[in-house]
Amino acid sequence: MLLFLVFAPLLAATLILLGSPARLTALFSAAVSAAVTFLALFLYRPVPGGFQFLSSFTVSESWRIHFSLGADGLSLIMLLLAALVLLCAVWFTPPIEKSERLFYVCLLFVAAGAIGAFASLDLFFFYAFHELALIPTFLLIGIWGSGNRSSAAWKVTIYLGVGSFVLLLGLILLYRSVPEGARTFDLRDLQTIAANGGIAAPAQNQIFLLLLIGFGVLVSLFPFHSWAPEAYASAPAPAAMLHAGVLKKFGLYGLLRLALPLLPQGAQHWRTLVIVLLLGNIIYVGLATIAQKRLDWMLGYSSVMHMGYIFLGIASANLIGLNGAAVLMFAHGISIALLFALAGEIRRRTRTLVFSDLGGLGKLMPFAGFAFGLATFAAIGLPGFANFAAEVMVFFGAFRVGADWQGFHLFQIATALALWGVVISAVYMLRAYRAIFMGPPNDSTLREWKAAPDLTLTLRWPVILLIAATLIVGFFPSSLLSVLRPTFPASLAANP
């Protein structure tokens, strides 16, 4: 089943290259993938005891690299996110003027990379699949991007390329840290080894730092974030949706999957650093977001900022925080994809995303305004949306770490500041909404936008799909939490 999921986009890409109708094929494969993901979710039994839907092929005996796929709750949720966003991204793709085939192929490759990474149980393929998306992203931004696409494409590619090599070093060190004979890239075996204390503490510190930097670059952890706003601002909407919504979660997924369970002491050791950096994301980047004067840049920055919350959940390393982080990954993926999709549609109609040039679009595009409003609410974490449930868990999880009567310690201060970040995000999101949809329309530009109709019915469906997803999770977070239950061991409950 996972094999199918991983290879469906690749197969579709190949078919498109061979000449089958691009959009149709892509849409069909995405829809089937989504259906299969739902099926997998349905078939998944949230019982303790590891991964399900296993399949494995040996690639290198001497290195013990296997192509093995498997999923537990966390991966299933990420797969669901990937499938949903892919479907919507493909659906949302406007008519492409140049090289339509290539566009869909790139899109499918990005998705395949994400899906593959989430479904892999072998660190080698876990890493490799993520990189599969690198070049398609480069092409997507470079060929079909807008604004300063050239600089954006270079920056994101080189930044992520270098970042992932740092990550690779971390993974190799991890591989090497295990005594000879037990060395493996298999996640499950490594977990067993780590559980038995097979990885020495100094090695853990080293590896965790490398993984943190490597994953951090991929997730745009402060101060390695400066690729993200520009890239997302320039990328075509479907690419931004997939990248910001799904692919970027890879780094966080990696931290949840690898760094914490395998290197608990390392995580403990670097805790303060992580907190400082994530506050950089929340406060510093949050403020920088306020200063943005264009929607695309603002969304790019906001997606960087929100990573801070997920990091906070991860850093808290207890059951509440981790569950929160996992749900927040899903929630943020959906909401940011929705925002980028709508921003892309607005750009297509108005040819600008500069706040001062926009205004009063709510009258012209009521549906877009409505949907954007919901996405805004989701992004700033209002109840009813998945983001809220997740953020609440993150805050509760983080606040509890090391709490005592003496006053506020590291995590309490961090939580308080992160809470302030919620205010910041309300400020910039509402300012943006106010500038774009509310207020009197700009007379001079209004005339040009007469030809700016609301979203067509076709385009409304993916929007509704995404909104429905975030609402359902927001109303019933248990739907995800029950799936997640076996992922985070109960032993974490004892964590401070």
Binding site: L102, L134, S150, G161, F165, L169, L173, Y175
Partner: protein, 472 residues
Amino acid sequence: MIPAPVLEIAVLVLGMILLLGEAFAGESDRRIFAIAGILGLIAVLVASFFLATAPPSATQGFWSFYSADPLAIFFKRFALVTTILVLVMAIDYAPAIQAGVASATRQAGLGEFFTLPIFTCAGLMWMASAIDFVMIFVSLELITISFYVLVSFTRRNPLTLEAGVKYLILSALSTGFLVYGITWIFGLTGETNLGRIGVSLTTANIDRVPILFGFGLVLVALSFKIAAVPFQIWVPDVYQGAPTPVTAFLSVGSKAAGFVVLLRVLAPFLILPEVGRLLVGIAALTLIYGNFAALPQSNLKRLLAYSSIAHAGYVLVGVAALSGTSVAFYLVAYLLMTLLCFAVLVAVGSSTGDQIEDYAGLAKRSPFLAFALLIGMIALAGVPFTAGFLGKFFIFDAAIRQHQTFLVVIGVVTVGCGFYYYLKVVRAMYWLEPTTSEPLTVSALSRLTMTGLIAAIIILGVYPQPILNALR
């Protein structure tokens, strides 16, 4: 079961038959000789899988010069594959040869152009087996001299000649140092056989300084062959000026042979601590120079030259980390991806040019070629699911295992540079609009070859075990 030395003999016989045939062929299409050469080499390649086990190396006689250990066999096959692919390219390149060799008849020069690589191949194969400095010297010179000829082959083209002269002088200079270095090593140990040199280095109470002096000079010559800093200086000019298939041959065959010899020569000298340090330094400089200087390049062929220096740097990291497997795997990956790039270069360059801007919009003119070059470039850059990535993976692993933190850091930085300059080509092909819309045609053979190379790059990028097994 075939004894190993028969392989070289078969190659030589093939070369001579073709040479003779060429002399009597009159005005017929010379490309038939290339095809024949390719088929013959494929036969030898197949035969190389049915070798009899070689006797252990002797103290004197044939087996004191010639080794048929797995490393040797591996690089013999490597040489054969390289030559086959170069010949395929040469067929496509024939028009440029005809234009470059001014002569009485249309077909003149082609026959030699197709047969010389076969002799070079024999030299490469001998070199893979050479375990004695004398043998190393003669086979190295065989290769060098045939490259003198090949590099300057299209002598009507002044650039080619310029490249030929630069290669000639600098290569001869390096030969001088090689000889002098061997002299010193011989003088101190009284031996030219690497195994016995190793023995005398460990047992006898030997002056370290003169030995190191000799070794240093040998290293100069070998660095020259593998294009390691500071002896990389000839590479960009010669690569750019030489006929493209020759450049490909030079950058793969000659370099790989240099690495085999380096691995063999290093073995006895590694007990000297200075050697490891020296290698680390050279590797670091090579990485930095190759990758940094490639950044501003605008000529694709020259870019590949710098990239070839850069890759020599990665392989040297593997050498410095004493990991033969990773070196061999990297070289295989390097062979596949470099030859793929050169194959596209031959197909496009002959009609359009070598500047990167000439590749603008290649995706529109020929999606297949653009895709092939895309794969080549991302493989060179080290993107996963290509052999290039696994190569870097093994190299980095080896370096980490040996705690070569310094090299690893430089490696990561230079990988970033690599992304820039390789993707510059991708950018040209896919982003930019073509200057001409004239479609490009690719011959069926080239198309087949490129498809094969692409497949090999991807398959090895996922399933490296065949190569790893071959070196067991």
